[in-house]
């Protein structure tokens, strides 16, 4: 039965995430925006609480680690003899709690130990043995290189198998690794054979302490300054053969499948981050407008209201669309429906809507929108990354178009 309300069983989790966002993240949001690169130590104790939250509910996860191939039971049968019901699982619960946490602070969410996007990669493609070994640990994701951003198929980092030691030897340079400095593990994308192209690209779990992976620098950024963004040099970095995620076979037909399927799980989560940040902007602005005597009327046509109220309602509508599309993509992942298109639709819509809303709210709030005495200006800086990482707006549009139109990447460049 069609129902787009937030699932009842996730309400406690969402409530907790909102409380954490309000009581823990918001109060220190400005502090770590100013003190870029300083480790937010308040989050260590938060990680312990969040782990407790995850353990208490079979399907609950407050950070990126929760998404993946959850095996929850269907939530309801349809009562007509059909066994399959719909499932509300960890992809949806994770997306919903990320929205709440990012209402608090995006940069801090990305810095909560154990909640990295690398964890989603592991959850999506790891073997049971790998899950056991790496599952509970904080993992960052290293894809981008100085010469390969969105075109991740052309990465130059190599992985050579050393039969003598049953190890892979990684060489190359990785940049823009979110939480790379602080995480315990880094999931590194590298090519087994650069002559084969994308099919040879595999992901490897590298211990952060591996002496072959040296921290080169931390970036200074426009926003999400609480989150460290690291650059690494991999020089004869040796990892055991068991560190390769998924299959070591280079299957030219299957191509990129293994590593790319991670994105079907992580893109809805990044969309959720944008949705949460946009909600923070809207809540702040609604309050500011109400203090100024402007209230939105949901009965009256837009043109019968003040320009400010009309603009607010228009932004709220786009916000709702982004939120529902994000829930749809996560719901599809929970129900094992192929969701590549919807994941990219959610990411594209939420990414651009987040930035549009932040800027629109600044317009409505004026000086309050840009002053550092409030957080709105910070959210407007933070939110921009969400239209860039895990695939830019333009990459999402390419993915959607290629799939809808049946064009290959060689045809639709």
């Amino acid at each position: 039965m069609i129902n787009l309300e937030t699932p009842k069983k996730f309400q406690p989790l969402i409530g907790q995430a909102h409380t954490v966002a309000q009581e823990v993240l918001r109060p220190i949001a400005r502090k770590y925006d100013v003190a870029e690169h300083e480790r937010p130590k308040e989050l260590d104790f938060l990680a312990a609480i969040l782990n407790g939250m995850s353990d208490s509910g079979a399907t609950s996860g407050a950070g990126a680690a929760g998404a993946g191939k959850g095996e929850d039971k269907p939530a309801s049968g349809n009562g007509n003899g059909h066994a399959e019901g719909t499932r509300n699982g960890s992809n949806l619960s994770t997306a919903l709690s990320i929205m709440e946490m990012c209402w608090g602070d995006v940069g801090l969410l990305l810095s909560i130990p154990g909640q990295g996007l690398g964890n989603s990669a592991i959850a999506a493609v790891a073997t049971p043995e790998q899950l056991k070994e790496f599952g509970g640990r904080w993992a960052a994701m290293a894809i981008t290189e100085p010469e390969a951003g969105s075109d991740s198929a052309s990465i130059r980092t190599t992985a050579e198998y050393d039969e003598a030691t049953d190890e892979y030897v990684l060489n190359g340079e990785k940049i823009y690794v979110t939480a790379g400095e602080r995480a315990e593990l880094v999931v590194v994308w590298a090519s087994l054979d650069r002559s084969v192209g994308r099919a040879a690209i595999k992901s490897f779990i590298v211990e952060r302490s591996n002496p072959g992976m040296k921290l080169d620098r931390l970036e200074h950024k426009l926003g999400i300054r609480a989150s460290d963004t690291a650059a690494f040099i991999l020089q004869d970095c040796r990892v055991p053969a068991s560190a390769l995620l998924g299959s070591p076979e280079v299957d030219v037909k299957k191509g990129f499948g293994g590593v790319m399927q991670t994105f079907d799980n992580t893109r809805p989560l990044v969309a959720a981050m944008a949705v949460g940040c946009a909600k923070a902007c809207l809540d702040f602005t609604r309050e500011a407008l109400e203090e100024a005597g402007v209230a939105v009327d949901y009965d009256k046509p837009l043109l019968s209201q003040s320009a400010a109220a009309a603009k607010f309602l228009a932004m709220e509508a786009e916000y709702d669309a982004a939120r529902l599309l994000t829930m749809q993509a996560a719901w599809m992942a929970d129900n094992k429906k192929p969701n590549s298109v919807q994941a990219s639709i959610a990411k594209a819509k939420a990414g651009r809507t987040g930035t549009d809303i932040a800027f629109g709210c600044i317009e409505l709030c004026g000086a309050l929108g840009v002053t550092e005495t409030e957080l709105l200006e910070k959210w407007a800086r933070d939110v921009k990354i969400l239209d860039i990482f895990e695939g830019t707006q333009q990459i999402q549009l390419l993915i959607i178009a290629r799939q809808l139109l049946g064009r290959t990447s060689a045809q639709l460049k």
Partner: protein, 440 residues
């Protein structure tokens, strides 16, 4: 201005002239269906003139009105229509593809839907989709979700014809939702029997910045009971054929309210008002000139919540047809941009083209989810006005953009009547200004 009966006679002849003059029908091979439509339209015009003015004798009901029960979702996020909904949507999709799309151009030109199409629609039971089972309808549970799914499926065939086939269901749906027992007993048999009455929900008025909560159509208490209704309504669907109107009017000292107005009582005149879009719905201006109404004409007792609910439900129905037409545009564009070659390769290979297709897919998906959410809240008995306002904003803004983008991607082709996209351009822009006419 003429009376309802005179106006109905005229439609057939006008349709004849317009369709006969339409050379494009020959070129695109529509002559067969168009001629059938033409024949039916003429027949319809004459027939309606004879039957217009059914008298509704006030019947006493059992005292307690029947209501469809609220839906009870299990608290699970779910985008799967239930089995009944899946079946009806499949049927409507087939009906839309086989019966609506082929005659859409002819109906658009004629400003009328083929009578046989309307007859098929009424055989399908569209008029009573929202009427409780106890009253001869097909709704066991509240049916806003079913309503938007059906409207979306039909509008995928053609938005104008979807409005033409669904408009008459607005009044019975309203009677199911808000009618008292007497009103249900008096009016619903006209929709559940063999000869399904044509009716119309008239809210929109012809002026800029129209606000359905600030009406210039006025109802004042009549001496000795009842009301007197005066005002003008715009773009009323199938008004010339209608035997019963549900009219929004400002009730003196009580705010906007809904009135059941049979044409048989006189004082109602209809003037054809062809518009840029939604032409197949035979839109007309309807003037109410000192129409005397009994007490029982007031639907929902001038309750302001009922009135607001009616406005929002109407907006949701318009959202649904906008979603259907937007999806139709997307489905049409995909093969077109793949096949159309420029500079030696399909234009689909160009980002400027492909990204526009992506944007249409993104916004259509968002429009659909927002519409479904508001409808499902309505069915569950939850407050849904904010959600309906959000859905409307999305569908008005992006629907119009999608219509425009579709024409743009076809270029010169898109501007001609040989392709359906110019019609979607007009229909989607027009849909954005509507209030009333449809109801879920």
């Amino acid at each position: 201005m003429t009376t309802v009966a005179e106006r109905s006679m005229g439609i057939g002849l006008k349709a004849l002239r317009q369709i006969a003059a339409l050379e494009v029908i020959d070129r695109v091979g529509l002559r067969g269906p168009a001629e059938r439509a033409l024949y039916s339209v003429t027949k319809n015009g004459m027939g309606a003139a004879a039957s217009a003015g059914r008298t509704f004798t006030i019947v006493r009901g059992s005292g307690k009105p029947e209501r469809a029960r609220p839906a009870s979702p299990k608290g699970v996020f779910d985008l799967t229509p239930d089995e009944d909904q899946q079946m009806i949507v499949e049927a409507m999709k087939e009906f839309a593809a086989a019966e609506l799309r082929p005659v859409a151009l002819a109906a658009d030109t004629a400003c009328a839907a083929p009578a046989e199409l309307l007859a098929s629609a009424s055989e399908l039971g569209l008029a009573t989709l929202g009427v409780p089972e106890e009253l001869g309808g097909s709704a066991a549970e509240r049916s806003a979700v079913t309503g938007v799914l059906v409207a979306e499926a039909l509008a995928h065939g053609d938005l104008g014809l979807a409005v033409a086939t669904l408009a008459t269901s607005a009044v019975p749906t309203a009677l199911g939702l808000w009618g008292d027992a007497d009103q249900q007993a008096t009016y619903l048999p006209a929709f559940t029997g063999d000869e399904v009455a044509v009716s119309a929900l008239a809210i929109l008025e012809p002026r800029p910045l129209f606000d359905p909560f600030v009406l210039e159509t006025k109802a004042r208490p009549a001496d000795g009971g009842g009301y007197v209704l005066d005002g003008v309504k715009s773009l009323v669907a199938r008004a010339a054929d209608a035997e019963l109107f549900l009219v929004a009017a400002e009730l003196q000292d009580r705010g906007p309210a809904l009135f059941l107005v049979p044409t048989s009582g006189g004082g109602v005149s209809v003037t054809a008002e062809p518009a840029m879009g939604v032409r197949a719905a035979a839109t007309a201006t309807v003037a109410f000139d000192g129409v005397v109404l009994p007490e029982a004409a007031l639907l929902g007792g001038a309750d302001q919540d009922v009135y607001a609910e009616c406005i929002h439900r109407a907006r949701l129905a318009w959202c649904a047809v906008a979603v259907g037409a937007s999806q139709a545009a997307l489905d049409y564009l995909v093969p077109y941009v793949n096949e159309r070659v420029a500079f030696g390769e399909p234009i689909a290979n160009r980002q400027a083209v492909a990204f526009t297709v992506s944007d249409i897919a993104i916004e259509t998906a968002g429009m659909r989810l927002a519409t479904w959410r508001a409808a499902s809240r309505a069915d569950a008995g939850k407050d849904f006005f904010r959600e309906a306002a959000v859905a409307r904003q999305l569908c008005v803004k992006h629907g119009a953009e999608i219509g425009s983008s579709a024409v743009q991607l076809l270029g010169g082709h898109g501007y001609t009547k040989e392709y359906p996209v110019e019609r979607w351009y007009r229909d989607l822009r027009t849909a954005g200004v509507y209030e009333g006419a449809l109801l879920v």
